[in-house]
Symmetry: D2
Subunit: 138 residues, 4 copies
Amino acid sequence: MNEARIRESFARQAFMGTIGASLGRIAPGAVDITLPVQGALLQQNGFVHAGATASIADSACGYAAMTLMPEGADVLSVEFKVNLLTPAVGTTLVARAQVIRSGRTISVCRATVFAVDAHGGEKPVLEMQGTMMTVPLP
Amino acid sequence: MNEARIRESFARQAFMGTIGASLGRIAPGAVDITLPVQGALLQQNGFVHAGATASIADSACGYAAMTLMPEGADVLSVEFKVNLLTPAVGTTLVARAQVIRSGRTISVCRATVFAVDAHGGEKPVLEMQGTMMTVPLP
Amino acid sequence: MNEARIRESFARQAFMGTIGASLGRIAPGAVDITLPVQGALLQQNGFVHAGATASIADSACGYAAMTLMPEGADVLSVEFKVNLLTPAVGTTLVARAQVIRSGRTISVCRATVFAVDAHGGEKPVLEMQGTMMTVPLP
Amino acid sequence: MNEARIRESFARQAFMGTIGASLGRIAPGAVDITLPVQGALLQQNGFVHAGATASIADSACGYAAMTLMPEGADVLSVEFKVNLLTPAVGTTLVARAQVIRSGRTISVCRATVFAVDAHGGEKPVLEMQGTMMTVPLP
């Protein structure tokens, strides 16, 4: 695992900066991404847009997969599937991703996004199951 | 189909404004959303982030479902699944969503996101299959 | 939870009998289904066919959802997604399903199918994430 | 495309024989599989079990991908996602799969399963979107 390489890659994900997401815990096979809730992220009813919530889950899955990849490898999302469990309301969202199976080419990951309320209470709002691919660094 | 209601709902999706997306064609069971490619949407290798691409597909699916819903109904994403076909590069992305099955509670939708190049050439970059739910207006 | 009702419904799932599956543990929000591996279930390379493996995961998810449904309700699969982690080889497959979110209409479930070898060792071979729907009994 | 090789592989998929499925049309990037409806395939309400329906869609997607693969390659399912559109009732089910994107390692496929009634009328009952992988022949 190369935490520095992952933090450097995340810093280059301009879209994560655009939505205000930041990288949290990095451990072998597991990565957290935090997203403060703000008006710019909402959909028509005042919930966080499913696309914004899925975006941090996707990046968290990708970097979780990358923690188990060899040096000189980059990661691409092959596919992912999300279920929206309940409207995403709160002060912050936290995506917690982990690798379920790490292969040479294909990694399977899961992430849960939790909505955190003002008292620190957590509630799962999205479940992702997806496939990440190891690719040579461009 | 109530096009005015859909355009008004889209205008309240602050997240679509944040990423620069705009609503295109609206027809019974079909909606297009356009997203000009800009640096703020990219991931670490200069492709549009899968989350941004999925976001316009999700909104397009939701509004496609809404075109077939009765007045006084709103739409929520139950779940969606995306395959990323090829890196999203181009000047604009266009999500084209259509309803595959419209039920009283549950609608099944598909969307393809195309990357459009400077010469107007189109290439599919993402395929979505998802489930939308009719909910009473809040 | 009405274990008798679930066992009776499973007994009417002729397809589970056709493939040789049997119902195991039933607990609130969780159901196991066991499938002895036999030649009739294999694909071209001698692994259990992904469709057979997915079938027990789907039934396990459905009945897990049913454990939390009111009397007089039946269950239908809305959608499911599976990742195949590794070829399914062994003496028995066991699908272990649990409810992640139980709603009035929609339940979200996950299942893992494990391949059990001759020494009782277990290895996950399939992960399912799916949506089940409560329907009135016909 | 090697039709003979695909027909030979299908003949070794014992599970397809177990459920009574047969291989129909084979064309570059497209394969059909037919499944006569019989009591042995049903679930508790008299509909074809979602697992049986998904099984023919999965095999059809795999062989559709194989039509575009080089000689000496075999196919494995990486993942698939299905939506069940309406209960599967009829005399026969037909899965029609096509390749959406064919890559060196990864192919993305879609299949629709139609229920055919006694008058030849067709109705879509399942939509699959999945990922197939090229693997060297064992």
